[in-house]
């Protein structure tokens, strides 16, 4: 499944008729073409999508018109059980079965191995959460208005965000769908540039680094020197960012071309100077989802210190598990929960130090120090995330510190280009954060950069694309 091509085909089909239609027909066109394209990937996939859409729509409306709190709670419970239950079955059934078998065998019970044959629909984690935001927002009072079924189904099935998000909130996205979209060249410009940037990040940065650096090293980490493993770890950090933010950019760009707005998903995460800052910049729509629907309802940071710590840890464990049916993801989530907890108390301690009294140099030193340890720990945490098993992760970590092989993987020009483009991307992010609006003053330089991207795309696209990492989630 070549996603950029699928998006371009989708846009081409929709774009021809879209602007001549009323908002009703625009939505009808979007939902039907999205479903058709999703069925093209596998004809069985839209069935579950439609079930989730109908269930959440009914539950949402029941919550909105419920007279009593018990009734509201009951309908929310039904929505949660149905959605999380389906997600759990399709994505996690075999994981829990296998874990149970492993546990039972380890304590001496002899349980024979078995697996259920399940076809996991692409993007199930994303569209389940998106559909759930409708009843959740109505329950928590974040949204007062119900929507027509056409608008809701258009929101859930909208193809560009169907496979891997961003997880747009129902009330935000549906407000765009309830208005007629008119052709605006500014939107086309913005959308095309976003799409180009996303495609570049995916194929030039992520795929080249994956194919020529990360994948070979991950197959047998102990065959490479420590230096290579450290570089590959950085490579994976860049790859996963470019892969996922590239997809998000393509989705945001596609929506923009059609006059719709999808929330931002990344804000230069490797510029973060603390772990909480990192989660404000990394997969923003998912982290805010967990914050708003798990962390805050559990009490957030408004309870005692221990409870706050537990809330953080639990939220991040769920976040880890959401990424996939593997204990390595759970460990990664737990690790980030720990990071956030440490971060919380460390920031309290460091706030006691009067950095300001040390002048600009002192402040800069503090920022650089915080940035260094934050990013180092984040990069190290990517190792269990990238590894298929704990054994591979341990092998990798061990080989990083104990040099057992002298095999060096030389960085090919496409890999260097990938790293270079990443540095340019984050430097740009740093500049626009420091001097907001500066990008508008250098339109020619930006135009030159985008034109160069088009030409580099032509020359450096790998023969075989690497699959999107977040598709497995």
């Amino acid at each position: 499944m070549n996603i950029p091509v699928l998006f371009i085909l989708f846009l081409s089909v929709v774009f021809v008729f879209y602007w001549r239609l009323s908002k009703l027909w625009q939505n009808l066109l979007l939902s039907s073409v999205s479903l058709l394209f999703y069925a093209w990937v596998d004809w069985r996939f839209p069935i579950l999508l439609l079930i989730l859409t109908v269930v959440n729509y009914i539950c949402g409306n029941k919550i909105a018109f419920a007279q009593s709190d018990v009734s509201r709670k009951t309908w929310l419970f039904i929505a949660l059980i149905a959605s999380i239950g389906l997600l759990g079955y399709f994505k996690y059934a075999n994981f829990f079965i296998n874990s149970y078998i492993a546990l039972a065998n380890s304590v001496g019970w002899h349980v024979t191995n078995f697996e259920i044959q399940i076809l996991v629909p692409v993007g199930i984690s994303f569209f389940t959460f998106q559909a759930l935001t409708y009843p959740l927002d109505l329950y928590f009072g974040r949204s007062k208005n119900t929507a027509s079924f056409l608008i809701f189904i258009t929101y859930v099935t909208f193809l560009p965000k169907l496979f891997a998000g961003p997880i747009a909130r129902a009330n935000n996205f549906m407000s765009g769908l309830s208005e007629k979209r008119t052709f605006q060249i500014e939107n086309i410009e913005d959308g095309c540039i976003r799409f180009l940037t996303g495609y570049f990040k995916k194929v030039i940065v992520a795929d080249n680094i994956a194919i020529y650096l990360v994948n070979p090293v991950m197959i047998s980490p102990n065959s490479y020197s420590s230096t290579t493993l450290w570089v590959a770890m950085l490579g994976y950090a860049v790859q996963i960012y470019a892969d996922f933010s590239g997809y998000s950019n393509m989705a945001i760009g596609s929506a923009k071309i059609l006059g719709l707005k999808i929330p931002e998903n990344f804000a230069f995460p490797y510029l973060a100077t603390s772990f909480s800052d990192f989660w404000r910049r990394w997969h923003i729509t998912m982290s805010t989802f967990f914050r708003d629907y798990i962390y805050i309802p559990m009490g957030g940071s408004h309870k005692n210190a221990l409870r706050t710590l537990l809330n953080l840890e639990f939220t991040m464990l769920i976040c880890g598990l959401w990424h996939g049916p593997s204990w390595t993801f759970v460990f990664w989530g737990a690790l980030h929960g720990l990071y956030l907890a440490i971060d919380r108390y460390l920031s309290k301690m460091t706030n006691l130090i009067q950095w300001g009294s040390m002048g600009a140099g002192g402040r800069r030193f503090a920022v650089v120090t915080r940035w260094s340890y934050t990013q180092s720990l984040i990069c190290l945490a990517w190792i269990p995330f990238a590894a298929s098993t704990f054994d591979t992760a341990i092998l990798y970590l061990k080989a990083m510190f104990i040099n057992e092989s002298s095999e060096i993987l030389f960085l090919t020009p496409p890999v260097l280009l990938g790293f270079g483009a990443f540095i340019v991307d984050h430097t740009y992010g740093w500049i626009v954060t420091k001097w907001p609006g500066v990008e508008r003053q250098y339109i020619h330089a930006r135009a030159m950069a985008y034109a160069c991207m088009i030409i580099l795309l032509y020359h450096f696209v790998p023969d075989k694309p690497n699959p999107f990492i977040y598709f497995q989630f």
């Binding site: 060249i185 500014e186 086309i188 410009e189 135009a447 985008y450 034109a451 088009i454 030409i455 032509y458």
Partner: protein, 392 residues
């Protein structure tokens, strides 16, 4: 004001509006078009052809060339044929004996059995790496008093079959010479340098001799791979040679003008598609005459050494199943077969053999769409056996 003036004004107004409303998009398109213009008109005048060849080949091909010249590849440079199988190589299923042949019982060579066959052709005859030695067409012949030496070599075209037989392989005194030919090996008759004809063959950037037909007679244009490839890509003499002698040089020239930037590359790609489509309708009589002359020469040479020749016309999966657009286009395979049959050669139509078997395509062809699976090789071997029996 005329209509055209009005139209120009309208375009100008739209461009001005685009510049105002979407300055970034306007800038990107403008700079991109500028790059395209520079690539089309200025760069080819400034950048040497050797640099273009370096880009055209890529590092993988340049490395492959040097490995080939150093004798590290699975093929060795050969002053007569361009390249030949490296003796004593074994990679998985693919085992080449001391004579450079792919045979099941290599030790039999030298005993001169009563019935010996040699097989010539490309990797389709050789069998490729997906089948074992005893699953090739020749492999199904071996055993008993029959000895089959498979000299099929990657990317060989018909002229190389003739050259290898004339210079070397006749010494095996085979009673029957089996020559596999396919459309690609016919296309190779006009080609010296493989990457000019097939850029995607990155691992085979080799140089081969070829014949040309002058006054009805074959004239060899020899190559010296060790010398001509030694300085690739920095060898201007190679360019002079290819410009004069390789029919596919124009493809490389097109790359120099229109290969570096995406829009012009797309136009070039579309042009080549159309050109390729035209080839279906316009017969290339020069190549057809050359093919017949080469085939005739193979037969004559074999006759001089007391052997008879059987040709096997071998289809790729595309030519076999003729699905999609192929089904409405003229059948090049049939045309080639018709031309060959007009020359009164002993020919086996492998497509007919495979079609008559009524086996599913997936059982006959490997996933690459070119090489045959053991079943197809067995069926062709059976047809060949039926053809040979009356001769002996």
């Amino acid at each position: 004001m005329g209509n055209s003036t009005l139209r120009c004004l309208s375009i100008f107004t739209k461009l001005t509006s685009l510049r105002r409303k979407a300055p970034l998009l306007y800038g990107v398109i403008g700079i991109w078009l500028l790059f395209e213009f520079v690539g089309l008109l200025i760069l080819p005048e400034v950048i040497p052809r050797t640099q273009y060849l370096s880009w055209y080949l890529g590092t993988q091909s340049v490395d492959a060339t040097h490995r080939f010249l150093q004798g590290d590849a699975y093929l060795l440079p050969d002053k007569y044929c361009g390249w030949r199988n490296r003796p004593n190589v074994a990679i998985g299923n693919w085992v080449i004996d001391a004579n450079g042949a792919r045979s099941v019982h290599p030790n039999h060579v030298g005993l001169v059995k009563e019935r010996r066959l040699i097989f010539l052709g490309s990797s389709m005859v050789n069998g490729g790496t997906h089948v074992k030695n005893n699953e090739t067409i020749s492999g199904y012949f071996e055993g008993g008093d029959v000895e089959a030496l498979n000299f099929g070599t990657m990317m060989y075209s018909m002229d190389q079959c003739l050259l290898s037989y004339r210079h070397d392989l006749h010494k095996y005194q085979a009673k029957v010479v089996v020559v596999g030919l396919d459309l690609s090996s016919i296309g190779g008759l006009n080609n010296h340098y493989i990457p000019l004809r097939m850029r995607e063959e990155r691992n085979m950037p080799y140089l081969k001799p070829r014949y040309e037909l002058t006054d009805g007679k074959l004239r060899l244009i020899p190559v010296h791979p060790e010398i001509q490839l030694a300085r690739v890509p920095n060898n201007p003499e190679l360019f002079d040679f290819l410009r004069k002698n390789d029919h596919y040089y124009d493809y490389f020239s097109g790359y120099c003008r229109m290969g570096l930037f995406p829009l012009s590359a797309f136009i070039r790609f579309a042009y080549h598609r159309v050109h390729k489509l035209c080839n279906y309708f316009i017969p290339d009589s020069e190549t057809e005459d050359l093919l017949l002359a080469v085939m005739d020469n193979i037969v004559q040479t074999a006759r001089e050494h007391g052997a008879c020749v059987i040709f096997i016309m071998m289809p790729s999966e595309k030519e076999y199943s003729r699905r999609g657009i192929q089904s409405i286009l003229p059948d090049l395979y049939s045309r080639a077969l018709h031309i060959i049959r007009s020359g009164e050669f002993n020919v086996i139509d492998a497509r007919q053999v495979l079609l008559l078997s009524r086996q599913p395509t997936a059982e006959l062809f490997h996933e690459d769409g070119v090489h045959y699976k053991p079943l197809a090789n067995r069926l062709i071997a059976q047809a060949l056996r039926d053809k040979i029996l009356p001769i002996h």
